[in-house]
């Protein structure tokens, strides 16, 4: 009956905590003596995994995260990282040496950004004219211009940024966060993925796999179009008590079965997933429905514009999920739509036009609601692009090849500095040279913002303590944190 009490108490708090954010809920639960769970589950053969909220290692402001993931490798020197040298040398031979992703493809002609940069906000952050909406909220974001992973190509780039390793099948960042901190809601999955109508990004399920962490921590994909989650309506004759009775019987059968199969985490995860599913029937519909959002909010994100409608809708949903206690939400694109090997001049503005306004609106909206303080918003791809051109078949067809040695990402909220630019690439935006942030440094810093020590957040795997940051050199970049 302990669980029932916990459920109802948490349910009550949850229902009354809109606008307070996860912090308030966690605090209330803690005061109530319900939040006794230590950080990460105890490990061992009889380890029990759950999604109860866990204590942080130390106080950290971040409680939830929205990742705006842009698969393909967005071009940093056309968006975030102005380089007058590129303009000066536009069309001329690159005087230095380029680390090409593929030597055979080498073109050494510099491709100056076709777009103008100007300073914005009180902080004077320079951004490209392709991002007019982001320009209005620069005082709230932390722009990192010195990201690097140094791996090769999309797959490894994605794995590095998303799972800290360079092979597939490893737990994604969202899995680590939900493993480390549990969930603030029992009514929605702790880790949710909002997919694009055009399909999943390349490498599909790798984006949200729990890898070798227990299945409890995998991402749940929300469909791109209505109905965003199928089968939320119970059959009329069984709705309510009838279905509760079914679930109780199911639970008792499953508990008995699981006790015959100690050590099979998957069985436990499925038991939990029925309870979650039962709650979702009422909660998910409400959470995913933006029709009652005020018109002003819809307009802010761009729901009224066909070009931005999809992304705007998904950003609003992301905010609604975080408001309701979801730990980690990732908003995905389709394929690798930021991979401009050619026709950069026409393709990049299209990508920006579809996403810039919703992304900026998300920051404004979260801030107005007092949620930005506890929510990390991250905008990144798996890598960036080269200063030299590719596909030398007329300027209209010029593109850029991959570059994992220097690229940009921005973050906002959750204890990250606001109105701050971190690090520099060389004068060509090829390689990070000042305050380089490796993907594993970013992971260590992000976990730190969540009050987690990246060296302590481990999972026992084949006798070893595995962590998100597998690189021994990973360090927290304190300069990024307010």
């Amino acid at each position: 009956m302990k669980t029932a009490r916990l459920c109802s108490r948490r349910h009550f708090l949850q229902a009354n905590s809109f606008g307070l954010g996860g912090l308030a809920l966690a605090t209330l639960l803690k005061q109530d003596g319900l939040l006794a769970a230590p950080v990460k589950p105890a490990l061992g053969a009889d380890a029990q995994f759950d999604l109860l909220p866990k204590e942080q290692h130390f106080p950290g402001k971040a409680k939830a995260m929205i990742s705006l993931f842009m698969m393909g490798g967005p071009s940093q020197m056309d968006l975030f990282d102005p380089k007058p040298m590129l303009t000066k040398y536009d069309g001329k031979n690159f005087p230095g040496e380029i680390k090409y992703d593929n030597l055979a493809q080498a073109s050494s002609k510099v491709f100056g950004s076709p777009w103008k940069f100007s300073k914005h906000g009180e902080c004077g952050m320079e951004l490209s004219e392709l991002l007019p909406h982001l320009a209005k909220v620069v005082d709230d974001i932390c722009l990192i211009r010195s990201m690097s992973s140094g791996v090769s190509n999309h797959a490894q780039g994605l794995y590095a940024i998303n799972s800290g390793r360079i092979t597939g099948g490893n737990p994604a960042l969202g899995s680590w966060l939900t493993y480390g901190l549990g969930s603030e809601t029992e009514e929605l999955p702790a880790y949710m993925v909002l997919s694009h109508p055009g399909g999943l990004p390349t490498f599909q399920g790798e984006h949200f796999t729990n890898g070798w962490l227990p299945a409890l921590y995998q991402g749940t994909v929300v469909r791109a179009t209505e109905p965003r989650i199928l089968n939320l309506d119970p059959p009329a004759a069984l709705a309510g008590d009838g279905q509760r009775r079914q679930l109780d019987l199911l639970r008792s059968l499953n508990e008995e079965h699981a006790s015959d199969h100690a050590g099979e985490n998957d069985l436990r995860a499925r038991i939990a997933s029925y309870e979650l599913a039962a709650h979702m029937q009422t909660a998910a519909k409400e959470a995913l429905d933006i029709s009652n959002e005020p018109e002003s909010v819809k307009k802010l994100y761009g729901v009224d514009n066909p070009e931005t409608r999809d992304y705007a809708t998904r950003c609003i949903i992301a905010r609604r999920l975080v408001e309701r206690g979801v730990r980690y939400v990732q908003v995905l694109n389709a394929g690798q739509s930021w991979d401009q090997h050619g026709s950069l001049i026409s393709a990049l503005p299209k990508n920006c036009a579809a996403t810039d306004q919703p992304c900026a609106a998300l920051i404004t909206d979260l801030k107005q609601r007092g949620l930005l303080e506890s929510t990390v918003v991250q905008w990144t791809g798996e890598m960036g692009r080269l200063p030299v051109l590719q596909n030398d078949a007329g300027r209209e067809k010029w593109g850029r090849d991959h570059n994992t040695y220097g690229f940009s990402q921005w973050v906002a909220g959750g204890g990250f500095k606001a109105g701050y630019v971190h690090g520099e690439t060389d004068e060509w935006s090829h390689k990070a040279v000042i305050d380089e942030v490796k993907h594993y440094d970013w992971h260590a810093t992000l976990l730190h913002a969540f009050g987690l020590d990246h060296k302590k957040l481990t999972y026992k795997r084949n006798g070893l303590a595995a962590s998100l940051t597998s690189d021994p050199g990973a360090k927290v970049v304190t300069k990024l944190l307010a």
Binding site: A45, E97, K99, Y100, D101, N102, L103, A104, Q105, G150, S152, N153, P189, G205, T209, A215, L216, Q218, R223, T225, P227, I229, L230, N231, D233, P234, P235, A236, A237, L238, D241, G242, R245, Q246, L249, L250, S252, L253, H257, A258, D260, H261, A262, G263, E264, D266, L267, A269, R270, S273, Y274, A277, A278, M280, Q281, Y405, K431, N462, D471, G473
Partner: protein, 874 residues
């Protein structure tokens, strides 16, 4: 002093050498340099600073700055060491770890030796070292000695037990008979044992009881339906073309699906199976323009049908797309992914744009591999999907159809002439309505062909449009139109008597049309670099063995694919048999001996039991590439017969790498849908043929049924029997995955699936709680229970347990279930009292009164379907 010193030094090395093996460049140092240095110092066109670290001898050259990189015997005088110690190198990436730097120093101290003389030149593509060649999966299969282990009943068990012993583990106890029967039945047929099967097996006390079961299952047609699905994953089977949003239908793909099922059921040797799929057209002596004789011979038709293996990739070339040539080349690239990972277990595709990052596969290799297939695809003379369908008409049928067509065409001419005659007659009446002066010019205008009319004539016709009478006979005289229509119908009726024409989707070369294969810069077909000839991957060939030589076949096809297929299946290829047996093993035991079934390269997992893998590969080949005997060997082993319970194994080996317990697995999507249908008594055993159709229902689900939707509304109508066939026969539309299957991890083929994930997410639970599929079948199962045990509730519950779990319920199970039924019945009774069914529409038959008892039992069946005991195979 000097002499003594030197002698002392030599003595020291000799002593060290006696204790530790001498370090060599290839084995010890090159991997360090490759990881940290050679990206800039060797692999770029111009090595940085003039330093090229790819070969030991290159290090003797002075650097651009004049430093001496290497002084053998003197690490302290070698710039290679100094620059790393000063922290100046590597400029990018991690510092060289201390232990690796120590290795470099030790190697220099030992004299900077190589294992063997270095090559004179470095050709195109990467340097393949002996060490890279030495990768385990590139070595010939060697049959190992079976370890002598007491109590291990089969060789498979001996290999496993020997490895377990090293980790102080041993097999779990034997699973009970019911568990094994359930396991092996699901494993081999994708369906559950019927209660009668269990009774018979439990009653059979003969020593051959287990074997008899296996023989029965392998002989069942359901076996092929189950195991074909595994292969269809690997080849990326779909009934639609994908690639573009249109995702057009691929209407003849099912013949290939049926070919695969039949091949499994007849236990076709895999060497034949592979040869047919890669080169069935060349075996059958067919080419694009000359195939009729071949398709009319059943054996050769089978071979031709098999080549659809090479037509499985997503293919947008029949649909509107932005870049037609790119779309064509994408088809080839995707197909190469499928071929290489299915048969070679290598991700050759990485080398399309650049030399492979981890495996010794060069871009040159990739295009040599592609050249095997180029003549059949020939992107510059592309054949769109509709042009790969070959008619199955016999010569007689062709003649008959032509004869009918000729007669029908004659009737068409007659109908046209009738129509003309009627219109001319009408014209003669109509023209009289015109002023006299306009009549003759109008007559001339009418007689002129439309394009030849002068502006004046056009104006005249516009002035008197109704007099024209050149068409629309019906507007002038419907009765005459009816006469013409009747004539036309005669032609249509005649055409309908033509023999039905069927087609096979296949891959064939066009005789005499052989494109020059090229290496394409960055995989861009617009940037050919140099011609290449077909060949095996360099790392798999050795100077002594040229693995295969294409020789033209009599049909006029190049014979490249046939030669390649023969080489793959001659028993000497190091990868093919290993890759195949590893997959078979994986499907039985829940994980592969190599747990990356599509990647046997350097980044793939190493085999947990390399000798067992070789033993199985060798058995398979020596046994004539037959799968059924291998199944038998595996499922009768102690390893397969052990229980899922082994605490020591669960604790110390959670991933079950040592196979010291049987790993619990959730049913795959198709097995889940099929067993639900079968246990509900709804499964329709109707094998082969065109797929069951699918549609979007109003709730947004994709279900099996007949699509009656429009652009704005979704509507599905029942399709009768087709809705209840095994999932393997349900249409695979890439853009519309069937909800019940997709939710349980059935793959979307882009282009194929090497290993399915097993997820546990809330949408699965929601489906089992609320989806019409499960609700309907739970009702059917309740009906079945009532039919099979009409009088007694306990009997019905017993029956449910037998059908779904292959076991008897415990008394506590019965008590729980009865309590549940009592309460649920009461609550449903209240519900129906409060929500009386709407009165039937006028004239419609009255609906049956709700039956709370029956509904409660159905809701119980739903719980049982949703329970882990049903969902997981142990």
């Amino acid at each position: 002093m000097k002499r003594i010193g030197l002698a002392g030094f030599i003595g020291l090395v000799a002593t060290a050498g006696a204790e530790e093996p001498t370090l060599t460049f290839e084995k010890d140092v090159r991997p360090v340099l490759k990881a940290h240095c050679t990206l800039c110092h060797g692999e770029e066109a111009k090595p940085k600073g003039g330093v090229d670290l790819r070969l030991r001898r290159f290090m003797d050259a002075p650097t651009d700055s004049g430093a001496t990189l290497l002084v053998p015997g003197k690490p302290e005088a070698s710039e290679l060491v100094a620059i790393i110690e000063r922290g100046e190198m590597p400029k990018k990436g991690h510092p060289v770890p201390p232990d690796q730097l120590a290795t470099i120093k030790e190697w220099i101290a030992q004299g900077a030796k190589t294992a063997r003389p270095e090559p004179e030149t470095l050709g195109n593509g990467p340097l393949i070292t002996e060490e890279e060649r030495a990768h385990w999966s590139f070595q010939p299969v060697k049959r190992p000695e079976v370890p002598k282990v007491e109590g291990a009943p089969t060789p498979v068990d001996a290999f496993l037990a020997a490895a377990m012993a090293k980790e102080d583990l041993s097999f779990a106890p034997e699973a009970d008979r019911a568990t094994w029967l359930r396991r092996v039945t699901l494993d081999l047929t994708g369906l559950l044992p019927a209660p009668g099967d269990l009774e018979a097996f439990l009653a059979d006390t003969s020593p051959q009881a287990y074997e008899k079961v296996v023989d029965r299952l392998l002989a069942s047609p359901a076996y092929g339906e189950r195991w074909a699905r595994h292969w269809l994953d690997v080849v990326g089977y779909a009934d639609s073309n994908g690639y573009t949003a249109a995702d057009s239908a691929r209407p003849q793909a099912w013949r290939y699906r049926d070919y695969v099922i039949r091949s499994f059921n007849e236990d076709k040797p895999w060497d034949v199976f592979i040869r047919e799929q890669l080169a069935g057209d060349e075996l059958a002596g067919a080419t694009h323009a000359d195939y009729q004789a071949a398709v009319n011979d059943p054996k050769r038709l089978e071979q031709i049908t098999a080549t659809a293996f090479l037509r499985m990739a997503p293919d947008g070339t029949g649909d509107p797309n932005d870049d037609a040539n790119l779309a064509r080349n994408q088809v080839i690239a995707e197909q190469i992914k499928v071929v290489s990972s299915s048969l070679l277990g290598l991700s050759v595709a990485c080398a399309q744009c650049h030399d492979h990052r981890h495996d010794p596969i060069s871009q040159e290799d990739y295009y040599r591999f592609r050249a095997i297939f180029d003549p059949a695809y020939h992107w510059q003379a592309w054949r769109a999907p509709a042009q790969r369908l070959y008619s199955l008409y016999t010569p007689e049928e062709t003649a008959k159809a032509a004869e009918i067509e000729k007669a029908a065409a004659a009737i068409d001419v007659e109908a046209r002439e009738m129509s003309k005659k009627f219109l001319d007659e009408i014209f003669e009446v109509e023209i009289l309505k015109l002023p006299e002066a306009d009549r003759e010019p109008y007559r001339l205008a009418r007689a002129a062909a439309e394009k030849d009319r002068t502006p004046e004539q056009k104006a005249l016709i516009k002035k008197y449009p109704s007099a024209l009478a050149l068409y629309s006979l019906n507007l002038y005289d419907q009765k005459k139109q009816d006469l013409v229509d009747a004539k036309s119908k005669e032609a249509a009726a005649l055409r309908a008597t033509k023999p039905v024409q069927n087609f096979v989707m296949a891959l064939m070369e066009v005789k005499g049309q052989v494109p020059e294969s090229q290496l394409y810069n960055r995989g861009d077909h617009e940037q050919p670099v140099r011609p290449v000839t077909p060949g095996e991957l360099t790392v798999l060939a050795t100077p002594e063995i040229e693995p295969f030589q294409p020789a033209a076949v009599p049909s006029g096809s190049t014979g490249r694919r046939l030669a390649y297929a023969n080489w793959l299946t001659n028993g000497k290829h190091p990868l093919v048999a290993r890759v195949l047996v590893n997959r078979f093993w994986m499907h039985h035991f829940g994980r592969g001996i190599v747990n990356t079934p599509g990647d046997f390269g350097h980044h793939g997992d190493a085999p947990t039991h390399p000798e067992l893998l070789d033993y199985l590969a060798d058995e398979f080949v020596k046994g004539g590439w037959r799968l059924k005997p291998l199944h038998k060997q595996l499922v009768l082993s102690q390893a397969y017969r052990q229980s899922a319970e082994n605490p020591a194994s669960s604790e110390r080996d959670p991933d079950n790498r040592l196979f010291a317990r049987h790993k619990l697995r959730r049913l795959e999507a198709e097995a889940l849908r099929d067993t639900v249908l079968a246990t509900a008594g709804a499964l329709v055993d109707k094998p082969f043929g065109p797929p069951s159709t699918i549609a979007r229902d109003p709730a947004g689900r994709i279900v099996v049924g007949v699509d009656k939707g429009t652009i704005t509304t979704a509507k599905v109508e029942p399709g009768g029997e087709q809705d209840y066939r095994r999932s393997l026969y349900v249409e695979v539309k890439r853009s519309k995955p069937v909800t019940v299957l997709e939710t349980f991890d059935a793959p979307v083929m882009t282009p194929h699936c090497e290993m399915r994930p097993q997820t546990t997410v809330a949408p699965q639970s929601l489906l089992l709680l609320n989806d019409t599929f499960i609700l309907e079948n739970a009702r059917r199962l309740a009906d079945r229970l009532h039919a099979e045990a009409p009088g007694d509730e306990n009997q019905r519950l017993r029956r449910a347990w037998q059908i779904l779990f292959s076991k008897e319920p415990a008394e506590s199970d019965l008590a729980r279930a009865r309590d549940y039924l009592r309460l649920q019945t009461a609550s449903l009774t209240v519900y129906h009292a409060q929500n009386p069914p709407a009165a039937p529409a006028k004239g419609a038959p009255a609906l049956p009164a709700p039956d709370p008892n029956r509904e409660a039992l159905a809701s119980l069946c739903q719980v049982l379907y949703s329970s882990n005991r049903f969902l997981y195979l142990e």
